[in-house]
C-alpha cells in the first residue's frame, strides 16, 4: 500500500502537469474543447476548475485524468509523459494514482456499497480479500456510511451514493482525486458533506484534489482557482488563507460577467 500524501520528491516534480494541451473534437464541425492549456499541480493542492458551461472544464479534467487523449500537447503524471503510454499503462496509472468522482455516482447497481468500494482494490490486487474488506469498510465508516455496508446503491440516498463513490475513488489510496461537479446533483446538506470530505482529504491526508465545479461556495473554499473560458485558462490564482473568501468569489463572478 502506498503511503498517503505526496512522495518525498513531490516538491521537485509536480503530480500532474499539462504542457500546451489542446483537445479538438473532430467531426463535421471541429470543436475545440481545450486550447493550449499549460498548468502544473503539486502535492497537497486543492484546486477548483471553474468556468461557464461549455468552457472545457470537464474536458480538461478528463485529459488530466487520462480518460481522454489530447490532440496536441502532453500530460505528465509524476513527471512521466503519458502520451507514449499504451492504453493498458494509462489504465494502470488511473487505477493506482488517480481517483475519480463524477456528478453522477456511477456505482455498479448489482454490487453492495462494500462491493463497489472493493472493485478497484480487487483490480489492483495488492491486498488479500480480508484486508480489502476491512479497508473498504473503514473508508465507508470514515464517510459516515458505517451502517450501510451491505446495501445496494438503489437502497441509498443520493448523498450516500456519492459518498460511496468517493470511498471507491479512495480505495487504492491514490494521491490525486479528480472530481467532476461532485456536488452537482446533490441537495444542500449532501453537498456540504461532500465539500467537507474533499477539504479533509487535502487538509488531513495531504492529497491533491482537483474539482470542476459550478458551486461558488465550494470554489471559494479552495486554495487555487483556475478559471476557463472557451477552453483557455483566463485566470489561475491562489487565495492564501489570509485573503478573504469573498475576494475569490468576486473574482469568479467578475470573470463570469465579463465572458457572458
Amino acid at each position: 500500500m502506498t503511503a498517503p500524501g505526496p512522495a518525498p520528491d513531490a516538491a521537485a516534480i509536480p503530480l500532474i502537469e499539462a504542457r500546451g494541451v489542446t483537445r479538438i473534437l473532430s467531426g463535421a464541425v471541429e470543436t475545440t474543447l481545450v486550447s493550449d492549456v499549460s498548468l502544473s499541480i503539486g502535492a497537497g493542492e486543492f484546486v477548483a476548475v471553474t468556468g461557464p458551461s461549455g468552457s472545457g472544464k470537464s474536458s480538461l479534467l478528463y485529459l488530466l485524468g487520462l480518460l481522454d487523449l489530447p490532440t496536441a500537447g502532453e500530460v505528465l503524471i509524476r513527471g512521466r509523459p503519458t502520451h507514449a503510454m499504451d492504453e493498458a499503462e494509462r489504465a494502470a496509472t488511473r487505477l493506482a494514482t488517480l481517483g475519480f468522482v463524477f456528478q453522477f455516482h456511477f456505482l455498479l447497481p448489482e454490487f453492495s456499497a462494500l462491493g463497489n468500494v472493493m472493485i478497484p482494490m480487487r483490480k489492483l490486487g495488492r491486498l488479500d480479500a480480508r484486508a480489502m474488506r476491512e479497508r473498504a469498510a473503514l473508508l465507508l465508516e470514515q464517510l459516515g456510511l458505517g451502517g450501510h455496508l451491505d446495501k445496494l446503491p438503489e437502497q441509498l440516498s443520493g448523498g450516500q451514493r456519492q459518498r460511496v463513490a468517493m470511498a471507491r475513488a479512495l480505495a487504492n489510496d491514490p494521491p490525486v482525486i479528480l472530481a467532476d461537479e461532485p456536488t452537482g446533483s446533490l441537495d444542500t446538506r449532501s453537498s456540504a458533506q461532500v465539500r467537507d470530505i474533499l477539504a479533509r482529504l487535502v487538509a488531513e491526508q495531504g492529497r491533491t484534489v482537483v474539482a470542476v465545479t459550478h458551486d461558488l461556495t465550494f470554489a471559494e473554499a479552495m486554495r487555487r482557482r483556475i478559471h476557463l473560458v472557451d477552453g483557455r485558462i483566463v485566470s489561475d490564482e491562489f487565495s492564501p488563507a489570509a485573503a478573504g473568501p469573498q475576494a475569490g468569489l468576486n473574482q469568479v463572478a467578475q470573470t463570469q460577467a465579463a465572458t457572458s
Binding site: A92, L95, F102, F106, I119
Partner: protein, 414 residues
C-alpha cells in the same frame, strides 16, 4: 482479478435472467439434438456396417488379376504402346487351387471357403430365370457366410450329399413357380443341361441374391460349367475384421490374384457414409451457429445496456483487455451452461431413442431397437462447436465494449 471479472460478468447475465435462460436453452437444444442425432446416425452406420460385415466375406479372392499379364512385346522392344489389353478370362480359374488353399490356411487368421461361380439359366415349366450359380462346399461355406442362417426351407447340408441338389433364393422359386422338391433344369451358355432338385430355399433380404442366386455342390458346379477341379473364388472370414485391408493386400502379394477386402468392395458405400457425416456436422454446426446468434444478441444487448458501467470501470482503471474479457466470459458462461445442459438433454434423448421398440416385418416378425451409438466424441464435438460459437458470439460485442470511450458516456450521463 479474474474472480472480479467473473463476478462482474455474472451480475450482467444474472441481471437479464430471462434472456440468459433463453440463450442457454438455445445452446442446450443445439448441443442436445446434435448429440442425439450423431448417436442415431453413427448407430445406424455401425449397425449397417456390422450387418454388411456379417453378410459378406471379409476378404474375397477371385481368379482375376488387376493387371493384364506382361506381354512378350514389352521385353522385345524398347517402346511399345498397347491398346485394349485386359486380363484374360482363364477358364482354369485360380491355378493350383489345392496349393493356394493350403497357403491361405497357413497365412490367414480365419476361415476359408472355395467356390466356383458362373452364369446359368434355370427353367421350370414355361419360366426362365437367369441364375448366378455358385458351387460351394457347404461345411466351409457355413463358416464364412450367413447363408446357412438365412435358410427358410430345406438345408444347405443336403448339397454335400446330393450332387443333383440345388438351393435357390425364394425370389427365384417364386418367379419359376417351383417349390421345395421340384426338379428344375439348369443350362449354361456352353449348352450343358442339368436337371437339379430344389433341396432348399433361402431368404437373405438382399433382393439381387434372393431373386437370382442358386447354390450347388462344388463338384456339381465344376461339371455344370465344364471346369473340372477349378475354383474361381475364395471367401475368407477373418477372426479380426479390422485386418481385412492388410490381409487382402498380403494375399494379393503372395498369390497374385485380385483380393478384395470388404472395405474396398464397398468403398462407394463407405464414402457415402463419409458424405453423410459431413452433412450431419454441417447441420449440427448450423444449429449451433443459430444458438450463437442468441448469445450474440444477449451479450450485445448487455454491452449496450451497461455502457455506463463499462465507462466507469474504465475510468477506475480497467483496461480494454479487461472489458473484452468480461464480455467474452459472459458469452462463454452461456456456452458452458448451455453445453452442460445440452449434454444432459443429449444423453436423455439418446437413451430415449435407444429404448424405442418397433417391429420389423421381414418374413419373420422381429422386434428391434433403434441403433444408437454412445460415443463421448459426440459430446466433445458438440461442446467444442457450442463453445466456439459462444466465444465468437461473445467476442464481437466484447470488442465493441472495449472500444467504449468513457468520456463519451460520462459526458452524456451528466
Amino acid at each position: 482479478m479474474i474472480r472480479l471479472l467473473f463476478d462482474i460478468a455474472y451480475t450482467h447475465i444474472a441481471g437479464r435472467l430471462r434472456q440468459t435462460v433463453v440463450s442457454i436453452v438455445g445452446v442446450m437444444l443445439g448441443v442436445g439434438f446434435s448429440i442425439a442425432m450423431a448417436a442415431l446416425m453413427q448407430g445406424s452406420q455401425d449397425d449397417f456396417v456390422t450387418q454388411l460385415i456379417d453378410a459378406l466375406p471379409h476378404v474375397s479372392v477371385s481368379d482375376e488379376t488387376r493387371q493384364p499379364p506382361r506381354q512378350p512385346a514389352l521385353d522385345r522392344f524398347d517402346a511399345v504402346e498397347m491398346f485394349g489389353l485386359k486380363p484374360d478370362d482363364d477358364r482354369r480359374g485360380i491355378r493350383n487351387p489345392t496349393e493356394v488353399l493350403a497357403l491361405l490356411k497357413a497365412l490367414v487368421p480365419g476361415r476359408i471357403a472355395p467356390a466356383l461361380t458362373g452364369q446359368a439359366v434355370a427353367r421350370y415349366g414355361g419360366g426362365d430365370v437367369g441364375l448366378a450359380v455358385a458351387g460351394i462346399e457347404p461345411a466351409a461355406e457355413k463358416r464364412v457366410s450367413r447363408i446357412a442362417k438365412d435358410m427358410r426351407e430345406g438345408s444347405l447340408d443336403t448339397l454335400a450329399a446330393d450332387p443333383n441338389g440345388i438351393v435357390i433364393g425364394d425370389g427365384v422359386a417364386r418367379k419359376l413357380g417351383a417349390g421345395l422338391g421340384d426338379q428344375i433344369t439348369v443350362s449354361t451358355s456352353r449348352g450343358i443341361l442339368k436337371r437339379l432338385k430344389i433341396v432348399g430355399l433361402f431368404h437373405t433380404g438382399v433382393t439381387t441374391q434372393d431373386d437370382g442366386t442358386g447354390y450347388v455342390g462344388l463338384k456339381a458346379a465344376q461339371i455344370l460349367f465344364e471346369r473340372p477341379n477349378a475354383i474361381n473364388q475364395i471367401k475368407i472370414r477373418l477372426d479380426e475384421v479390422g485386418q481385412a485391408r492388410a490381409v487382402a493386400a498380403r494375399i494379393e502379394r503372395e498369390i497374385g490374384y485380385k483380393s478384395l477386402s470388404w472395405e474396398e468392395a464397398n468403398q462407394s458405400l463407405l464414402e457415402a457414409f463419409k458424405i453423410r457425416n459431413i452433412i450431419m456436422f454441417t447441420v449440427v454446426g448450423a444449429i449451433l451457429l443459430v444458438a450463437g446468434f442468441g448469445i450474440y444478441n444477449i451479450v450485445s444487448t448487455i454491452v449496450h445496456e451497461k455502457a455506463r458501467d463499462i465507462a466507469i470501470l474504465k475510468s477506475l482503471g480497467f483496461a480494454e483487455a479487461d472489458m473484452r474479457h468480461i464480455f467474452l466470459i459472459e458469452g462463454l458462461m452461456i456456452g458452458v451452461l448451455g453445453s452442460a445442459a445440452g449434454w444432459a438433454l443429449g444423453f436423455g434423448l439418446t437413451e430415449l431413442l435407444g429404448s424405442i421398440r418397433f417391429e420389423l416385418k421381414g418374413g419373420l416378425t422381429e422386434v428391434t431397437h433403434l441403433p444408437v451409438a454412445r460415443d463421448p466424441l459426440h459430446y466433445l464435438i458438440a461442446a467444442v462447436f457450442a463453445l466456439g460459437s459462444a466465444g465468437v458470439a461473445g467476442f464481437l460485442p466484447a470488442r465493441k465494449a472495449a472500444k467504449v470511450k468513457p468520456v463519451d458516456i460520462i459526458r452524456g450521463a451528466t
